[in-house]
Subunit: 427 residues, 2 copies
């Protein structure tokens, strides 16, 4: 490899241990390369279940797994807890917040954060859901809102404390809205004396014409019906025009809501900008069919950080299965290059789409089948337990879910982090 | 009750939902009183297992339980998430950070924090272990030390990163030292490439002549032997004379340790000072045999906040069983007063003493029996699962422990909270 001493095996650096980076690392586990897997966190997070941590259904330890433990048996793999701040393509170097790392091959899988459509000032008001800290922050805001309402003498302010607005009607927004409606109506119902949590108002605001745009219209309609049955107010074609700490405006209409959650849009990691290549509107890197960076065959970009069209010319969605398959494909193409074989283009095998709606309901668009209700929910449970990393996590999550289902309880509803009594409820 | 309208039932306010306050609240569940249970947190913590959260054996959600969920069926009981800042004995009022609450009966069970023997500047350097936030902070420091060591080129600094000093040889110090030795030698051994976690140096420093002073000397010796077998360096008569961010001095001797944990002493909640009564050296409130405040029969003080001698003239220890029994006794005395019956003096039924030493070992001083080793450990497991609140938590903890024991893994080793790359390891 250019830049690599003849003797030493080439050095493959992977930035990000999400679904893409982790699967690339695993695929390189027995390869004749030295692998360094970088992440800002010491754990991999199973993002599809983050919303359950945010809504007190699960504990972080049940959906997160130490990265070192996952690759501990790969002798060729090192794990670095480090933050990549820039990529120096010319010198084949990853610049870190506290150092630098040279590479022969680079796999960029740093993912995305939420996007506030040019309103960065909205982020502290309306947090999004991307990592464990986000989830615990959202859990804290939801539970503290009920606590504040319990002690609020003024009826209007109490109403505002019990109003939860979720911006964005994709899977995350739908799952958050359903889960909040659930804990308000089932879990917390008996916990309070001054308020009735069942009176909580949950608004789900979607800018487009329908919920779950990635699903078939029929399932979007099903999801909306199921959410309404849970008491969620669904509004489509509802674009947020203004946000304050306790209110939100849609066009002329204003809603008082003490808790506002953001599930509306994502933007790629700022790392993409450091590449100096043209990016798409969401800050993603357009990649070659083999997932490499144009003009840089030694650099691969994947997952939420990359943008690529499938055979039918549609852009690939920002879903876990895409990242997982791309991670494996990038690793395979590195091995092909090492063997002097031609690379292969990436083809996404669409395994379908799933989203839960509260307790015991879901919509599923799988292998041409469109399911909704309890059956789809069973499929959802099966798939998610199956994909969780580690027998321990599967066992714990299965235990929690059985317990929650049978007891109508959700005991993970802990508020952690010091509470600041001067601040508004300390949220 | 004086101050209470004739019609309304008397108002019993309980400050603190630890072992003492929670058991008082439960004992008043069917009583003809209105109960308000105040706590700064929304959850009760099973403190005897906090050290396992700190050493990545358990998740917070497995040893903490929402207070509202515990008393949800007590229709006479309200839960307030609030911080009591002072007690106004004359006006029978609890002053809150954000309001006030009048009482007819008051049960003060606000517990204790750690004491740094007149060195408050040591607290940020050497955190103690009292709540979930403390435990997650300590876990974070321990795991980040290994992460920093893995990337530290300088041998001396690496040695310091891998040195853990625990100040205080009581149960908490002994259990922390044993658990850290365990994860270093068993759990993390295969996780790193540049360092060998088994080389971690664990120092346990006790100011007195022996570990576990509350145990019989024979068991103190056993505990020390078992700790040495785990590779822990035990030093008795070792008084800390100076502390810095990465070193600690005992008399003339200096140790370089990047992680210093404090398990040396406790001081009662500052709430005690607001009573305006004489306190003991640890800031505790001397109480009457019926647990009431001298001159204030309507006020009870218990648990770590109170000091009382038993029949033999010994001071009662700051243990969970003492607080639990005192909580029930205070509630019973309130009921007696309401019925016009004479109050009873509190008598502590000593159920014995337990402490674990790493994996599969413990010392137990129970019912005249002095046990050590695996048998004591089985007793310890049985007792702790038994006393955990809620079937769910028992189930989850039993699952985790079985898994850890069979797999030699401990997957709860997550570093949570944003990492600040500029700060030393972000700890």
């Amino acid at each position: 490899m250019a830049g690599a001493p003849a003797a030493a095996p080439p050095h493959a650096v992977i930035v990000g241990a999400g679904f893409g980076g982790l699967n690339a690392a695993k695929a390189l586990g027995k390869a004749p390369v030295r692998v360094t897997l970088l992440d800002r966190r010491n754990h991999h997070v199973f993002q599809p279940l983050l919303y359950q941590v945010a809504t007190a259904g699960l504990s972080p330890g049940e959906i997160a797994y130490p990265i070192r433990a996952i690759v501990r048996r790969q002798r060729n793999t090192e794990v670095w807890l480090a933050e990549a701040t820039a990529i120096d393509l010319d010198h084949r170097r990853v610049v870190l917040a506290d150092g630098a790392l040279d590479y022969d091959f680079l796999i960029l899988a740093a993912g995305a954060r939420h996007s506030y459509f040019g309103h960065p000032e909205w982020e502290p008001i309306a947090p999004g859901l991307k990592d464990v800290e986000d989830a615990l922050d959202i859990r804290r805001r939801i539970l503290l809102a009920f606590e504040r309402a319990e002690r609020e003498p003024d009826a209007d302010r109490r109403r505002a404390e019990l109003t939860f607005a979720i911006v964005g009607g994709g899977p995350t927004g739908v799952e958050l809205a359903g889960a909040i409606a659930d804990i308000a109506r089932r879990v917390l119902a008996k916990d309070f004396r001054a308020i009735d949590p069942r009176e909580a108002r949950i608004l789900l605001l979607e800018g487009g014409p329908r919920l779950l745009p990635a699903f078939p219209p029929r399932l979007s309609a099903k999801a909306e019906t199921m959410l309404r049955q849970l008491g969620v107010e669904v509004r489509t074609n509802a674009l947020v025009t203004a946000l304050s700490a306790d209110s939100l405006a849609i066009g002329g209409q204003t809603f008082n809501a003490a808790t506002i959650l953001w599930a509306a849009g994502v933007t790629a990691s700022p790392l993409a900008r450091s590449l100096g290549v043209p990016l798409d509107h969401a800050g993603r890197v357009p990649v070659q069919p083999d997932l490499s960076l144009p003009g840089h065959p030694e650099v691969f970009v994947l997952g939420d950080l990359a943008t690529l069209r499938d055979a039918r010319g549609h852009f690939l969605p920002g879903l876990a299965p895409v990242a997982i398959q791309q991670g494996r494909a990038a690793a395979a193409n590195i091995l092909r290059s090492l063997r002097g074989q031609p690379r292969r283009d990436f083809h996404y095998r669409d395994k379908g789409n799933l989203a839960t709606i509260g307790r015991a309901r879901a919509v599923a668009d799988i292998a041409g089948l469109q399911l909704s209700g309890p059956l789809a929910w069973l499929v959802w449970i099966f798939v998610h337990i199956l994909y969780l990393i580690g027998f321990r996590n599967r066992l714990l999550v299965a235990t929690e879910w059985s317990w929650d289902y049978l007891s109508f309880q959700q005991a993970a509803r802990l508020i952690t982090g010091r509470i600041h009594w001067t601040a508004k409820g300390g949220a």
